[in-house]
Amino acid sequence: MRHIGFLTAAALALGAAATAASCARTPPRVLTVSGSAVGREGDLLRRQIERFARLHPSLTVAVRATPDAADARHQLYVQWLNARAVDPDVLQLDVIWTAEFAAAGWITSLGRFRPPVDDFFPAAVAADRWRGALYALPWFVDVGMLYRRTDLVPDSPRDLDELALLARRAQDVGGIPYGLVWQGARYEGLVTVFVEYLGAFGGRILDDAGRVAVDSEAADKALSYMRDAIHAEGIVPMAALAWQEEQTRLAFQAGQAAFMRNWPYAYALLQDRSQSSVAGRIAVTPMPGAPGGAPTAALGGSALAINTHSDQPSDAYALIDFLLQPEQMIERAQVVGQYPARPALYATRALAEALTVSPSDALEVIARAVPRPTTPVYHELSQILQVSLHRALTRQQEPCPALREAAAAMRALLARVQLTPPGS
């Protein structure tokens, strides 16, 4: 019997020794940050982290690479955080993920660090709150903007109808094939375009109390307006129903459209004379409003959050605080063209020099920023909405029943996950 014990013990000891030896070789604790780390953005991040590391010699900081595509990064985050991984400590989150991660308990609330929330855009901070607590801090903001050709349309349209008129005129008189281009493919981008039309007519996807409001009259008007722009007025091309950001940018860049709805990233590219045929002839404003509503810009961008299971939360917050300093934000504006999340910077010379677009123009759009619904199941809600929006836009269904169906499915989903607000 002794031999049995010896045998088993020997085998186990061997295994244990092998595993222990390899475990012992794991690297010492490092503060890791995960986010966009390719190309110029990656170099910038590493530069700023090095600067931080020099100010905190006791810390080692590293970047943990994630894929560039939003869905792939989201999936990887979900895998790590659900597994209660200790790394990464700091995460770059898409603004629409914060509520989801907060509700799942994957990121920790930042209240105890007493962050200076008033220094950031209120809409961006609101998108980073869940059940009253703050779970992330805005890093940079993205907003949907209306680009226009100043040589064809010298003054900005005052409302949607004037936009349609001017677009039509540019097509008829100016010989431009497309009046207005926006992202109409069946994906998240379509929802952001819809948010802007919806806000123009005074509607919301979820109201302030969190109730589904996408079957309102305003929503019906907004969706009908979008549909008519394609099929009745011919201002927006049918092809746009398969376009995402890049296709619309390329069309506008080649001079084929009088107006384009897109994100800030396009501005620098459009002003680049070596590849753009419209350089120097563009301006940006928020998407105009309509009777009953106001000009609206869909809010995007990224925020920084701390992993709940991080073993260095204070150090992680120190890093976040550093990356959100004005100096770092201005550098980011200059290198990657992303808009800082601090309103105060828009009055500074530094930002004016860093950005291609004028800060006051940018500020005008950001002032109209409306976040998408802050709810843990935003992804699912968006999927439901995308299907209905696209069906209405491709005329497989009328806007009213399409939105009603979407609203019913969204209510059912919220009920199923017990997120129905009281009083609905």
Binding site: A11, G15, T19, S22, R64, P67, W80, R84, A85
Partner: protein, 270 residues
Amino acid sequence: MKVQAWPLVTILLVGAILFPLYWVAIASLTPEGRLFAQPTLVPDALVLDHYRALFGERDFWTPVRNSLVVAGATTAFCVALGAVCAYALARLRFRGKAAILALVLAVSMFPQISIVSPLYLVLRELRLLNTYPGLVLPYLTFAMPLTIWLLVGFFRQLPPELEEAGLMDGAGRLRTLWDIILPLSWPGIATAAILTFLYSWNEFLFALSFTLGPERHTVPVAITLFRGQYQVPWGQILAAAMVATVPVAALALAAQRRIIAGLTSGAVKG
């Protein structure tokens, strides 16, 4: 005419079987730009760039080490515990044997996907995700029944007089097992070890589910996750595929007789 048909069929089939491997091997030595341009059966230029990049830039040593440790540890555990268990099941008398054998066979047929979720939750609770033990433990699910089955078949084939001889010499059962039976069992144990190592090296689903990052990814997972950057780096992927293939191909070559005997003893289901 019929007499000549079979050799031709054999050549065609074997050619079809070997072609993809040949193609991957050649591609792994072809410069990236030429990979999708005018594929030719016989290459003209061969380069080692992809292998160099694989082990230089990409640090492919880590997944290789991870696979070796996990497959090795799994094999060691399974052989150690499984051999004695198989001996008991094959050559000792006790009640419940048939039921246990049936149970072991049934377990070996569990779809892996069916136990991923509880294993994940348990490993997470024990903080074993993304660790070596966190992979070896799940691997025992399929490796242990496999080893036991193989060795039961093998032990049964040993002459029945062995225990008798041992007892007559006054040795206890344990002594007999240790000094007489086991030394004679090396061929069977070697087969079981080889097959266990092979299955563990090739395993994918558990490695994908229970590891989180490159520090603990095994070779199959590491290769799969190469994609996802800008373009798919086919040259490096195929070089990595060759690296993944070499150990098990070598094993298959060296031990083909044993492996085939083990597979066809009716004990293994592929």
